[in-house]
Symmetry: C2
Subunit: 387 residues, 2 copies
Amino acid sequence: MVTSSFGAHYREVEIGEIVILARDEPLVLECGESISQFPLAYQTYGTLNAKRNNAILICHALSGDQYLCGTHPVTGKGGWWERMVGPGKPIDTGKYFVICSNVIGSCMGSFGPKEINPKTGKPYGLSFPFITIGDMVRAQALLVEYLGIEKLFAVIGGSMGGMQALEWAARFPEKVFAVVPIATSTRQSAQNIAFHEIGRQAIMADPDWCEGDYLAQRKYPAKGLSVARMAAHVTYVSQTMLQEKFGRNLQDREAYTFGFDADFKIESYLRHQGVSFVERFDANSYLYLTRAASYFDLTEGGTRKLTDIFAGTHIRFCVVSFSSDWLYSSVESRNLVRALNAVAANVSFTEIQCDQGHDSFLLDVPEFDALLAGFIQGSATLYGVGA
Amino acid sequence: MVTSSFGAHYREVEIGEIVILARDEPLVLECGESISQFPLAYQTYGTLNAKRNNAILICHALSGDQYLCGTHPVTGKGGWWERMVGPGKPIDTGKYFVICSNVIGSCMGSFGPKEINPKTGKPYGLSFPFITIGDMVRAQALLVEYLGIEKLFAVIGGSMGGMQALEWAARFPEKVFAVVPIATSTRQSAQNIAFHEIGRQAIMADPDWCEGDYLAQRKYPAKGLSVARMAAHVTYVSQTMLQEKFGRNLQDREAYTFGFDADFKIESYLRHQGVSFVERFDANSYLYLTRAASYFDLTEGGTRKLTDIFAGTHIRFCVVSFSSDWLYSSVESRNLVRALNAVAANVSFTEIQCDQGHDSFLLDVPEFDALLAGFIQGSATLYGVGA
């Protein structure tokens, strides 16, 4: 167990399992820098079977972490995919060995900008190297190797987690049987690059960001990070959902106050999203991870074709999108599916009809649960899991 | 001519015509405060005819002003609707007397938070009273009266200007012959309230905002206002347009820099939008005007029906929406049109197919030009303009 400091109040929190990776040879990052002996924090759920063929790696999204279920050490709430992962759940920890690691660049114990740079004795801040989705995945591959698993049964992820799932399929086709990219894309769109830029500018506009050196200076860009989260959160939900859930309802008042207080429920809700995020997330991590997502492009600027990347793949794909997701719309998933079909890959595609928007993969969408449970069960039979 | 200071550098700029309104009796604002002898800045184009029946009032949007065409005194560029207004243009200043006034709460010479409070000798800042869309329109009505016009031939406006057009139709049905609400709604949606809240939070997070007192303290929340504008600008354009115009193109570089500089063209473009806005707009005005827009709801929280509001109206309506506008989608316009149809009002509705998004009404959309020109010409014949 290792402790780490969190959020605006610098609470010390016990992180779960942490492994030191790249002990023997360094991992060369896409930016050109090398990292060695870096920490990767992870959680596992369930038991690895004797055949070592029941491991499912779940990749978390931008603001997620390794806590899929159980009590989260920072928030005190349940994990982010408690609905989906556990005994008897669609991803059944009674049958599968589920792994989730905190991506490098993040802030829940893995190698990230708030960790201490051994060369200076201070947090990395902006001296942290730039990481990519590919780097995150290669770090995960080192963890999988460390856990003694030669081939993963499945890699599953939504949003930025879906990008990682696609990177697994592209980089390590022999190391995974099934891949489930959910509400994601093979390359970040201009609109998504734009929203991430707004978030970064909000953080960097905050003087308490201190050019990234806030931890050393015992400050915190709480306001900037909060605005960044608010701007992001609006993109995670659909207009329909916002209208139905909040509409123009007022927050604990009968009439407009003619002021800048949170008169509307939606304003109060958004402010809460911002403030609670600040308590659990590191501002520099937010910069690095949004940068990694913006850089994500499987086609490498159009120099590679998706059909070349996936030609001859034996992976079983289950591509999922949500009809009300305007951040990673179904069009993005269809582009991927079209390429996979063109190389005769084994791919199913489902656009789930629901109103919740991009965050649907985190919310109560029974059709999605059933879809995922079915795909995993069918694939497990084919792969001989538990047999 | 009056001068006024602008933007981060406090340039002194000559504003055009300004009239002092509410000389005899004060205007009671919806917030309860009264204002008297307040300035309203405006521009006129063309000549009022002898019958005084050729006046068109154009209402500007959130960040617009009275400069429809000609050289803008702050930016040095053309006005915001130069494409639409001028001799031989769809709104032909050879035939019509076009009026555009800076809304109260704004910052181009009309009564707004950056004007000097005579009681204190300092800029109003947050001591400025809260204004509503209805207040803006009643101030415009005083201007129209001052100009000696009993009845306007038409009131035209897009976005927040469309809200004003609808207020004219609701409040002063006898004072206007035709109304053209463009890319607007009868009430601000939850999503739009959310985006405005993000913008305000970005401004108020900037310590140079000084709790609204930045002008007196010779500071300026340039970073906060810039982030607010960036967050708003993304909502003004469609995903398709962003993808086609910018995609993942890099800005003056061949490869990622692995840094937080504007690697992508879309990032550079957005930053430019933010910075140039700061030069011409007042941060407190942005707070007040977004608040006014969020408060806008013709149905007054559902206590009034649109069909009651418009029952018996003689106004000719031309409702316009744009297919790619996700901020004020066609659904909003259809709701209005449904109510107008239900009271047998004279209404045409056109959803223009185009890719540019909400800002389409400011951009080159020939079908829109033709639509507006046709409606105005037809209405002018009916109304006997120039006859």
